[in-house]
């Protein structure tokens, strides 16, 4: 029963949503179920937050390696919860939006989350450059095409690309690197993206059918409970 009920729920909900596409009176189901998603997500995030606290508090209690960093994580998490849920430091009080201008919550986002997030992503620029230096070798025809396409896109978005091919006359403007980059993005790149997208969609449809029909059950976890 512990596995049968979830399988029945999946089958019932999945089938109902498919039928709702063809039966207009059931058309609102998609909106209702999306709202349910959003509400369940809150509890899932609370569960995730609880798990984060549990793991780091255990690390703290056992004084495991780098426990000091766990203390920082827990403090940061609890601080954000306090200033966000109780709107501490919000000029408009509890009635104002949580991220109102001047609130501590907004200040934390602007001065801590925002710089950290963009720096983390920008760090990838170094790793991508280092990886491409090792991986980008024109070993065969396919690798050469990848290399040339990447090179044109990179050059096409810098002033160097304009400078190098700016002398090409207007009637041959498609050969100018910035225009060539635009053409690659809009034509062969689009074709490849579409082929990949259609392939992924066929995969999603097959996986969805497997889930609804109960063939795919891995989401239920092990048999232990």
């Amino acid at each position: 029963m512990k596995r049968q009920i979830p399988l029945l729920i999946t089958f019932f909900v999945g089938t109902l949503l498919i039928i709702s596409v063809f039966v207009p009176p059931l058309g609102d189901l998609e909106r209702d179920f999306t709202l349910f998603f959003d509400i369940i997500a809150v509890f899932a995030f609370f569960l995730g937050g609880g798990n984060l606290l549990r793991i780091h508090l255990m690390k703290l209690a056992n004084r495991r390696k780098d426990w000091g960093f766990s203390a920082v994580t827990v403090s940061g998490f609890l601080f954000m919860l306090a200033i966000g849920l109780f709107k501490v430091g919000n000029p408009g009080g509890i009635a104002e939006a949580v991220d109102a201008e001047g609130s501590w919550f907004k200040v934390m986002f602007d001065n801590v989350i925002n710089p950290l997030q963009s720096t983390m992503y920008s760090l990838l620029a170094f790793f991508v450059a280092s990886a491409s230096y090792r991986a980008f070798r024109a070993k065969n025809r396919e690798a050469t095409m990848l290399l040339i396409a990447a090179f044109i896109i990179l050059l096409g978005r810098t002033p160097l690309g304009v400078m190098l091919t700016g002398w090409i006359p207007e009637w041959m403007s498609v050969a100018q690197i910035p225009n060539l980059a635009v053409w690659i993005m809009n034509s062969p790149n689009l074709a490849g993206q579409r082929a990949i997208m259609i392939g992924i969609s066929l995969g999603v449809i097959a996986t969805s059918l497997r889930l609804i029909l109960g063939v795919e059950r891995s989401y239920l976890g092990g048999d232990s409970d």
Partner: protein
């Protein structure tokens, strides 16, 4: 306050970049701050936007919303090992609803709409595209078809089928190259943004 925020931002930015030298305590400190603060941020945002904004305000007008809240509460059963299996019910709901929604949405928007957008420009009535656009549309149609042929592995890639599949892999390679170049440039613009912050906003060396 603004000045203090700049120093905090600079401290965190340099701390993350210190990882380029090697893993160190400064980086780990910034990482720990990032994890704690962003986890708290998202819990708070979801609480106010979804729980308060969508459930609490609308619960009297739409009693159906209680079903979503009940499923959410059931998810918390995972915290009690003896009744942890009940948390599979909301999970099953999410999986079933996602499968049902995605199956139909992907079919209509990612397959039918994409096929239509690929073929229709070639056959449009009263067609008035330029020569460049016609070539571009032709490349898109042939490239998409060849790319799909490459992904078909139930038939051996030999003869005309193999030649089309080979054309397909070229198109896919150009796509990967373009996506790579695009990703590098977006990361570069973020890097430039951070350097601009350090040298301009923080140190005032760039006006």
């Amino acid at each position: 306050m603004e000045h203090f925020g700049l120093w905090v931002g600079a401290f965190l930015t340099l701390g993350i970049y210190s990882f380029l030298y090697r893993d160190n305590a400064w980086y780990k400190l910034c990482e720990a701050i990032f994890i704690g603060i962003s986890a708290g941020y998202w819990v708070v945002i979801l609480f106010w936007d979804n729980f308060y904004g969508k459930f609490w305000i609308g619960r009297e007008e739409e009693p159906m919303l209680w079903v979503g809240a009940a499923l959410g509460v059931l998810m918390l059963c995972r915290l009690v090992p003896r009744i942890g299996w009940i948390s599979r019910w909301p999970l099953a709901f999410i999986v079933g609803a996602t499968a049902g929604l995605w199956m139909m949405n992907y079919f209509s928007s990612n397959i039918m709409a994409q096929v239509q957008s690929t073929i229709m420009p070639l056959l449009g009535e009263g067609y008035s595209a330029s020569f460049g656009e016609i070539v571009g549309n032709f490349v898109i149609a042939v490239g998409t078809f060849a790319g799909l042929i490459y992904f078909y592995f139930s038939k051996e890639h030999k003869g005309a089928f193999g030649a089309t599949a080979r054309l397909g892999i070229w198109v896919i390679m150009i796509t990967f190259g373009a996506s790579f170049g695009y990703t590098v440039m977006s990361r570069m613009s973020l890097l430039i943004g951070r350097i601009d912050f350090l040298l301009g906003d923080w140190l005032g060396l760039i006006q």
